[in-house]
Symmetry: C2
Subunit: 406 residues, 2 copies
């Protein structure tokens, strides 16, 4: 089942050329039961499922009904060389234009269809720029229409969410470090083996103290994590960011809405012109077969109205094109801004995460240095010295016993 989105196609290529048209990726050609050739975009990634009917007689068609790919085309008001009398004056008018390219309007935005010259160059080749790849609408998994710009916007909002989550992660690390520091600090004050004396006692006391030094290192780490990583992650896009995104969103959406109403005006004007032309045709035919007593005045009037309708159409198409240009410019400007913001986001986060690893390196180094005084004192441990100190304090008497005399 394909849904057709107000596809209007103007085609002026001869039948043979249609055969040899190289289709854009994802487009397939089918033949209807009536022998009509039509083209279907079967690509699902970010493109519209649309069925266009390219009339082999270069006619313009409107297809507003949905139909099965292999079903009947009875409802499709589509011209074909095999259907006599289906060549309308409107179609004939278009034929005279002899336009070289194929265009299609989807959701009120007009795109080229074929890949023939002049081929569109990317605005920023090799850059995979936002301004080059988000022109069409797409459908989300629920079936709703999503504009390309919307996709870009969501990406930015998700980026802000990512920042927030990274900051939460850092916060959790900070809590872990503070707990660790607290435990080390407590333990350093426990009285185990406090009675050890001498050089060994000194080394042991320093070893215990080193836990308090380690605790300090980890507290410093957690404190710097907060200032230099967590806080910036939370704040480098301020609250203004969401407001700015909303502004862009509304602005672009408004321009699209305007395009929709201008397109409606075009359609209306087109229909009015067709009616006027048909009226003129009928009246001319009637004159020729002397069907009525219409004077040349009536025909002149009909012709005037027809011309006026033609002018109206031109004006509407003009306004539509202006509106589309405006939207186009805004799209390019804004999508490039979003692109810049995304580069900034990635680079800022890269910076902050590098700061994280720097702080980790620092911490490990400071931690190592807490061992230095311990190593030194352990080096100085001297059992002989400790014995001297202890003996001096605790000796009971150095006179050795002698034989008793009688």
């Amino acid at each position: 089942q394909f849904k057709i989105f107000h596809a209007v196609v103007s085609c002026s290529m001869p039948a043979e050329e249609i055969e040899s048209v190289s289709l854009p990726v994802g487009w397939k050609s089918y033949i209807s039961p009536e022998g009509r050739k039509y083209y279907v975009n079967t690509s699902t990634k970010g493109t519209t499922d649309v069925c266009i009917c390219v009339c082999q007689l270069h006619g313009a068609m409107e297809m507003e009904e949905s139909f099965d790919a292999e079903g009947s085309f009875d409802d499709v008001s589509c011209l074909s060389p095999q259907s006599p009398g289906s060549t309308s004056p409107a179609r004939r008018q278009n034929k005279e234009k002899e336009i070289k390219e194929t265009k299609i309007t989807i959701n009120c935005v007009t795109f080229p269809v074929s890949m023939s010259a002049p081929e569109q160059q990317l605005l920023k080749p090799s850059e995979w720029s936002y301004c080059d790849y988000f022109w069409a609408d797409k459908r989300d998994p629920q079936g709703a229409t999503v504009s390309g710009f919307e996709v870009l916007l969501q990406k930015q909002l998700k980026g802000k969410q990512m920042q927030k989550e990274m900051a939460e992660f850092i916060r959790e690390r900070i809590k872990i470090e503070e707990e660790y520091a607290k435990n080390l600090s407590k333990l350093s004050m426990f009285p185990m083996a406090a009675q050890e004396e001498g050089t060994l006692g000194e080394a042991w006391a320093q070893l215990k103290k080193s836990l308090a030094d380690e605790a300090e290192v980890h507290l410093k780490f957690s404190s710097k994590l907060q200032c230099e990583v967590e806080k910036p992650l939370l704040t480098f896009r301020g609250d203004n960011f969401k407001k700015d995104m909303k502004k862009y969103d509304h602005h672009i959406a408004d321009l699209r809405k305007q395009l929709v109403s201008r397109y409606a005006a075009v359609e209306k004007a087109r229909k009015a012109l067709a009616d006027r032309q048909k009226d003129l045709e009928v009246k001319t035919q009637q004159l020729e077969i002397k069907l009525s007593n219409k004077t040349e005045e009536d025909i002149k009037k009909a012709r005037r109205k027809s011309t006026q309708a033609g002018d109206d159409l031109m004006r509407c198409v003009d306004l539509y094109n202006q509106g589309q240009s405006k939207w186009f410019e805004e799209m390019v400007t804004t999508s490039l801004e979003l692109e810049r913001l995304e580069v900034e986001r990635v680079e800022t986060i890269q910076q902050l995460l590098r700061q994280y690893t720097t702080l980790r390196h620092e911490t490990d180094m400071f931690n190592q240095s807490t061992m230095e005084p311990v190593d030194q004192l352990l080096q100085s441990v001297d059992p002989a010295k400790d014995r001297e100190l202890w003996v001096k304090e605790h000796k009971t008497g150095d006179l050795r016993p002698v034989d008793m005399d009688i």
Copy 2:
């Protein structure tokens, strides 16, 4: 108030020499009201408070009563040149000996008193060896007598307690490390910013993983702490240690007890001799003043008994001296063993604490290396690449809108 510990002094120095005797540290000389000179050890650090009376007529005295430093000496059975008739035959006997040194028996152990030649050299000079400084008993704060050996033994038992407490400290550290590792490991699995993609997403994922790596480093640390520090601290003196200490304790104590009983025998023999001598003296006097009709037979009998008593005394003194020698040898051997054990203890603990610092150094280094892959991936963060990846996946269409034709 000084307590006197069965001090028996034999002295054979002329009065003048006594005056010029250089006293050991802490000894002071006093003159009693009767004009007797006596010497008091006022040192409180590990020496006995004893009052000895050195008779200026080189007599031996027993002082068993306690008295005030400035009080009367009426109770002291102490000879002096001023007290006629107090020169007993026993004392005369000692006088004949003309022994050069002054000795004192305290708690049944016999020591030299003066510092005169031949001066005692330390058994192990400059080493502050246990075998040189723990000969005398001391008094603990509660007033109980403690032998020098007991002090050495307590030191060893305390050393075992110190090990145990150090091991407890290491155990607490192990618990802290395991807690820290557990927290880091948990956090590394939290889903924060899991949706970040591209090169930034990779770097972020590695950063999160690095916490699990850190956790492993700390777990390894705690595991090695247990094997290489805690366990050895707990086990390097086995349970046999306390048994060995008890054995030494009992053995040395037994030898002291033996000395006490042999000393009692000496005292008893000495008294018996004095009695026999007095008996002989009385009987001889009686013969001279024809006080009784005692025959020469009686005197011969009395003389024989006196000689026998003299032999008994010699035997007892011999046994005593042998007993003291035995104790002396055991003291030297065992105290040197305790000294060796203490050196071993200090060196072993030094070793184990060095192992602790080595493990800490290792840990900090391993911890640093967990940052390497993170640093590398952060280096590779590329906003342009990430844009390309993301655009390729999420683009909606690269055909730009064109003007609608009329």
